[in-house]
Each structure stands twice: as C-alpha cells, then as structure tokens.
C-alpha cells in the first residue's frame, strides 16, 4: 500500500483510544454476526460486510461534529453503527423486520437515519456522490456551517457522475468531503485492472480539489486526515478528497468466494495491519488498559451484538399494511 504512514507519536488520550477500540470492535462483531445470520437464512438478498475497513468510518466520525451529514454506498452497516444508530435497529433491518430502521423495507443496502443525519445506504454504484454534494449544497445554501462526508469505493471512483459532482462541488465551493474508501477491489476487479491512476485522489487535481492518501488501517491517521479535511470544508474553501487506503477481509458480498486474490494476501493484512489489533497494541503497550480491561470490553460488545441479533430475530415481520405506506409523503 502506498499510503502515508504517520511517523509521529500518537497524541491521543487513553479514553479516545478505548472509544475507537470499542467502536471498531462493535462493527467487526456485528458484521461477523450478520454473516452468521445470513448463513442461517435470516438475512436475505445481498449483504456486504465491512470487516477490515472499520478504521475508516470510526476515524472520520471522530473528526465530525453534531449536525454534520454522511452518505455512503450499499456497504453501509459500519457507517450506521459508527454514527450512533442502534445495533438492534440495524440488525432488524437486515432481517427485514418491523423493528428495522426502515421498518424492514430498505434492507442491508438501504438504511437511513434522519436523527443521525445519515442519508443512506445507496445501492447504485456512485449515485451517493452527487447526492452527497447535494446535501452539502443545502448546507451551503442555509449557511449552517455543516460538512458532508460522502463515502464511495475505488470501484465507484470510475463512474462518470463522480466527476460531474467533483466539477460542481468545485465551482460552487460545496462543503463536502469526498471519502474514497479504496479497499483495492471493485467487486472482484483489482484496482490495477480497473483504474488508470494508482492514487485516485490525484484525479481531484483536474478540478482544483485538494486531496491526499491516508493509511486506512490506522484509525489515528484517518482521524487526523479527517480533521484537516473538515477544517478545510468548514472554512468555506470548498470540497476535499480523502483517499483512504483500506482492505476488506471478506468477499464483496456474502456470495463472493473471493477467488481473485490469495488467502495469503488477506492473511498478511489481517496479521500485520489489522486496525483493531493496532489500537489494542497501543492500549496495552501504553499501559492505558490491561488484558482484563480489554476482555471486559470484548464481552460488553459481544453482549450488545447478541442482544441486537436476538432483537432482530424476535421482532415481528412488518404488518402487511406496510406494503402500501411511505410511497407518498
């Protein structure tokens, strides 16, 4: 990975580190459980897991303020948990139950939370990029000082509408952070086979949009880059691009056998770069936490995820009248 590595000693409190550990672990355990429920047939259709990419959304949420907006693709469970949406409501949406955040009508790829300023959950590759620029357009129009985190993948980065959005975001100075979550594979096609430039953020130069590559396996590096991008947008300087180099451990979706890469490649990333292990190491070597402290967190997270799964299994299926609601406001 060509990502920049921070050489500085992390300037971060034990409390913050513990928070990141807890939030990333929640996403991982949640996704593992979702994979399990999928295997049991309780989750249907497509289900795209975020395992391996946890530091991206946790790092950027740490740089966000109340009222900032976020929007992403169909690989959205981690984003929802990171912005504070209830794990039970997310899991029950996956199982298509009444207790789901979209009442079971959206599913894995289409979740939203007005309360948390989370604008989806979009299943069309790249569509969320102009939508995210539009959210920023609304904020600029209202002059409320908010920024929008618009997440998309290295695959979506080749969609034409992304560059239409870059152009308008630049000419109108929209307060939008384009977050390219580069997990190196557009479904099964490696970046080197799909994308003309090794560093996708450099494409912003053509539009006058500054950007940088970030080590997406380091939550601290992501947070630091996020803070810089937020400051840029909030000061009225227009959009900013963060290309966060990350890695997904699982297949593109549950039905992807991932034969386009070696098991060794995945294993190497897990062993050497895992975002959760990195924070765990920092906590232990910095004597911010003991093994027992971390075990207690692990247990706590496991309980949250198990409770979410139980809720998602027990919540009733939507009432049949829901078929005809929410079509028109």
């Amino acid at each position: 990975m060509a990502a920049r590595k921070s050489t500085k000693k992390p300037n971060v409190s034990a409390e913050e580190l513990t928070t990141y550990y807890r939030e990333m672990l929640l996403i991982r355990r949640f996704e593992e459980k979702a994979g399990q429920l999928y295997g049991m047939g309780l989750i249907g259709g497509f289900c795209h897991l975020y395992i391996g990419q946890e530091a991206v959304v946790v790092g950027l949420e740490a740089a966000a303020e109340e009222g900032d907006k976020r929007i992403t693709s169909y690989r959205d469970h981690g984003h929802m948990l990171a912005c504070g949406m209830d794990a039970g409501g997310v899991m029950a949406e996956l199982t298509g139950r009444e207790g789901g955040l979209s009442k079971g009508k959206g599913g894995s790829m289409h979740m939203f939370s007005k309360e948390k300023h989370f604008y989806g959950g979009h299943g069309i590759v790249g569509a969320q990029v102009p939508l995210g620029a539009g959210l920023a357009f609304a904020d600029k129009y209202k002059g409320n000082g908010r920024v929008t985190f618009t997440y998309f993948g290295d695959g979506a980065a080749n969609q034409g509408q992304v560059y239409e959005a870059f152009n308008m975001a630049a000419i109108w100075d929209l307060p939008v952070i384009f977050v390219i979550e580069n997990n190196q594979y557009a479904m099964g096609t490696a970046q080197s086979r799909s994308t003309s430039t090794p560093d996708i953020f450099t494409r912003g130069e053509a539009f006058g949009i500054p950007g940088e590559a970030v080590d997406g396996m380091s939550v601290l590096a992501v947070k630091e880059a996020g803070e810089k991008a937020v400051a840029h947008c909030r000061s009225g300087k227009g959009p900013y691009i963060l290309e966060i180099k990350t890695y997904r451990y699982r297949g593109h979706s549950m039905s992807d056998p991932a034969k386009y890469r070696t098991r060794e490649e995945v294993q190497k990333m897990r062993e050497e770069r895992d975002p959760i292990e990195q924070v765990r190491e920092l906590l232990l070597t910095g004597k911010h936490a003991t093994e027992d402290d971390l075990k207690a967190i692990d247990k706590e997270i496991k309980d949250v995820v198990n409770a979410a799964a139980d809720f998602a299994k027990e919540s009733p299926v939507p009432h049949i009248d829901e078929l005809w609601t929410d079509i028109y406001a």
């Binding site: 295997g39 047939g41 979209s102 009508k105 289409h110 620029a133 904020d139 239409e164 000419i171 079509i327």
Partner: protein, 452 residues
Amino acid sequence: MAIEILMPALSPTMEEGTLAKWLVKEGDTVSSGDILAEIETDKATMEFEAVDEGIVGKILIAEGTEGVKVNTAIAIMVEEGEEVGDLAAALAPATAPAPTSAAPTVAAAPAAPQVDLTPDWPEGTSMKQQTVREALRDAMAEEMRGDEDVYLMGEEVAEYQGAYKVSQGLLDEFGSKRVIDTPITEHGFAGIAVGAAFGGLKPIVEFMTFNFAMQAIDHIINSAAKTLYMSGGQMGAPMVFRGPNGAAARVGAQHSQDYAAWYMQIPGLKVAMPYSASDAKGLLKSAIRDPNPVIFLENEILYGRSFDVPAMDDFTVPFGKARIWREGADVTIVSFGIGMQYALEAADKLAEDGVSAEVIDLRTLRPMDTGSIIKSVMKTNRLVTVEEGWPQGSVGSYISSVVMQEAFDYLDAPVINCTGKDVPMPYAANLEKLALVTTDDVIAAVKQVTYR
C-alpha cells in the same frame, strides 16, 4: 456451552450445497474468522468461517456429502473441558421459523378517487390572457417569493434567461443563489438536486428537454422516487423536475420523445402534463408545494400559446383531478398535454357532423383521475384516448385496461388509443407529420367507435 454449526446459506438463492472439504478436524481449537470448511453453493465454492471461538467437538456431516440442506447441523463446537457426549441429540432445533403476521392475504390497493366536480376557480373571477410560458414563470416566482427553500437550477436558467425563456426575469428578482446555471451534466446536477432535497431544500430542476433527462433518470427514479419508501418514511425528495417533453418541430429522433408513459409507471413519483396556461400555473404551484418528487412535463409548442388564467392571488390546481373541457353524449375523448389540441379540434369538427364528444383533460397522470373517465364512459359508452407517445405500453393502453376492468359492461365499442406512430421521429417534414398523432386520427377513431 456446546453450539451447533449449521450449513450456511452463502448466496441469495442457495437452498442446499455440498460440504466439499473440512479444513478443521475434531479436537482443533478455532478462533473467530478461521476457515472451517469449503462449501459448494449453486454459484461457487465458498470458504465458511467460524464466528465464535471454541473447539471442534464433533463433525456431523462428512466431507464430500452432497445436497446438505441449509441450516442442517454440520458440526458441534464445545468450550474447553466440555464433553460432546450425546449433546448432538439433546440440542434444540436450530432456528425458530420467522414469525408470521396475522392476515395471510395481501392488502388491497387504495380505491379509485372519488370524482371531484368543484370548479378550479370561483365563479365571477376575472381572467387575464397569458401564455403558458408566462404562467410557468409566474408560478415559480410566486412560490419562490413565498418559500426561501425553493430554488431553480438547470442549464441556462439564469443569465441566458432560460433556453425557452421560461425563467425570464427570475435571476434579476432572486439572484444567483436561488437561480443557478449548471454545467451540461444532467446526471450530476439531478443527483445534486435530489441530495439538496434530502437536505431540506425544495429544488426545481429544469431540464432543457426531458430527452436529456434520460441521463438523469437513475436519480429521478432510484434516488428521488424510492427513498421515502426505502427509509421507512424518514426522508424523501420534495422537488420538481420540469421542462419541455415530446416533439417540437423538425428536431429529429433524439429530441422528440414523449416520456409521459415512462414516468407515469413509477410509484413515488407524481406526474403532471398540463395543456392550458391556467393548468400550467396552478399545477406547477401545487407541484412545488408537494412533499414528493414531481415530474412536470411541458411542451415547447404550447409555451407561446395564450389562454385565460384566473387573476387570483394564489391560484392552484390539485393533482388527480381531471378537467372536463367539453361535455358530450356520444363519445369520451381523453387526453393530456398537447394531445388536448387534437382532441378539442376533433370535437369541434365532429360537432359539425352531429357527434357530441365529451373531452377530458387528465392534467395529471399520477395520480390519475380514472374516476372521471369511468363516469364519462358510463354516459357515452365509447372511449378514444389521445397522446403523442408510442403505442406499446402507452398511457392509453393503461386507461383501456382500467376501463375494461371497471366499466366493461358500459362499453359499446372497443377503446381506441390514438398515439404517435411506432417509429423514431423522422426529420423530413412530411414524415414527421405522419409520425405524429393528428386531429384526423382522432376523428377517424371516434367514427370507428360510434360505428359511423
């Protein structure tokens, strides 16, 4: 506590699979993420990972076994120091079936709307002559004066004053914050407008023509129309997509399509297609206030045509209410948009031959006032529909099916749909004329259904 490992479903369509290979054996300690087995699904060979840590206590299904049903126990995991024993037999059934809801039948669609016969404006209202173009501009200006969140964006809407001058004067009055020239990138600016609507604004998006909106149709349908439903009612797109639709004159196949039938099909969208200036104004004002995405189909040829418009402070026309332009007894002619021109001309000529035609302008296609059509057919027993679009999957074919299902016994002749011809629009003047629906087509159809 011992737990069963179940045969996983590893694709949306998998019901059973082959347990191709075990990668662990009894007694192995595994941790979360370790690969337990390879499983052949209906699509591919997949690796199956452990979710929990533990010891493989017993393998229940040997490798190479085919046709293993999803959710069959394939192994038992135990914790350290725990015995497998006959736990396999003692374990409870794998998963409870999903709870089912009370009533087994699908709820019925809402009933057709009641026929609303209230006049569009109070009797005695003074009228003024206005072109459709002026009426549309006034509608936007009035709504922008009343609501700061309403803004207009599109190609050439600001400094150029509108490609068809519909937005003339709006930049001067409202400034560049609210009247915004976009680059020629329909897909992108439509997406930005939908995002702005999610974010609390009420955008009016002008397409230079709806032919160019095909570049943007993904955002119109997938982003704007479906989000309210997908979000369980949390957020939607209160906005208007407007611009000229259908054929102008001599602009060829790529600039002449009528999209009425396309957009009319989409739940979550509302669709208006006015003919007169008063309806253009009243419906556009309603569209801007509507909390849903509205497709507003105008017509370049009609922009310059003048009609009476009521001189009222706040004149609106509701959606889903047809307008009866002409009452008649012998046949019902239903149309909308520029099709009304042919319908009304035909009715005039037919009257000279002693045929009394009732002419209905649908004004909005979604919601559609099918109640008014059926009520009229119950009186006239004959129906002709008129539109500029193509015949297959047309607005008229939908109306025909509704009338057949709800007023079959009242029909004295098959319904005829007068449509544009089933060809791309030709450039040559004579061929273009042949491709469009004409007043003569309507007259011929009426004569056919009245057996004259």
